[in-house]
Amino acid sequence: MGKTFYGVELPNPLMLGTAQYPSPAILEEAFRASGAGVATVSLRREGAGGAGQTFWQMIADLDVLVLPNTAGCHTVKEAVTTAHMAREVFDTKWIKLELIGHTDSLQPDVFQLVEAARILSEDGFEVFPYTTEDLIVGERLLEAGCEVLMPWGAPIGSGRGLNNIYALRAMRAEFPDVPLVVDAGIGLPSHAAAAMELGFDAVLLNTAVARAGDPVAMAKAMMAAVEAGQMGFDADPIEARDMAEASTPVIGKAFLS
């Protein structure tokens, strides 16, 4: 059955971002209609009008698990400081650790990621590292104290789906007992279903829903997809083969030629 995330069992395998929606009302409806159980959030400079407080109230009213991120951080120090601020503001030990290494692809800087993960884990954080599909990096993150790994499907916001399905499958095989989340790159429900069919434990996505023409409908579609993919994986699918294998029995067929 489903693995726990630092002891917490998720109600379903969809983690949904809260950015880029056409309006707060649509964001709220996307969560309510889909039933997503985890919301990713961030920290930004507070303005005079207290916009952050209004946003926080809406998230609190959704009654979901909150996963703050360190989006936009490029150094260990910056990420660690942001994590401390997030822990205080959101009152959670969970932190989605993002350490960006490349401007165009937003590829994680895995060297700094491992270092920051170690510092934060030692400080009592429960780290959800946004990483690549590299197995050795995954191993180092686990050694650093992470109990969850979140490899990218494709670059953030690209909607390309699972760029390296071979490596993701290898990751699943290498870390059978670790909760694995495909984080980023999902564009279509079929991408999300494919991740779950690999045996991943959850999918984290944002842009695919928030930027869809109908975000509420897409949120529901994504939930249906991750649940279908998970059921399919649990049902032990057949192996693919190159040639046909008749499904209709040959025995008893009438002789007609």
Binding site: T18, Q20, Y21, V41, R45, T81, H84, V89
Partner: protein, 64 residues
Amino acid sequence: MKIVLNGEAREVAATDLAGLLAECGFSGRVATSLNEEFVPAGLRAGQALADGDRVEVVAPMQGG
């Protein structure tokens, strides 16, 4: 004194971090840093400010 608050130069009367938040009207869920170091809420009252200090005040925001 002159400080930099969320990237903008400001002239303020407050002498510590807690006073600065009150003076500038921040309330609710915010976190603070002083010269790129996190300052927990419980330590803001005793955290003296000096000319040229850089203060960041952050709050919950949408994120992916």
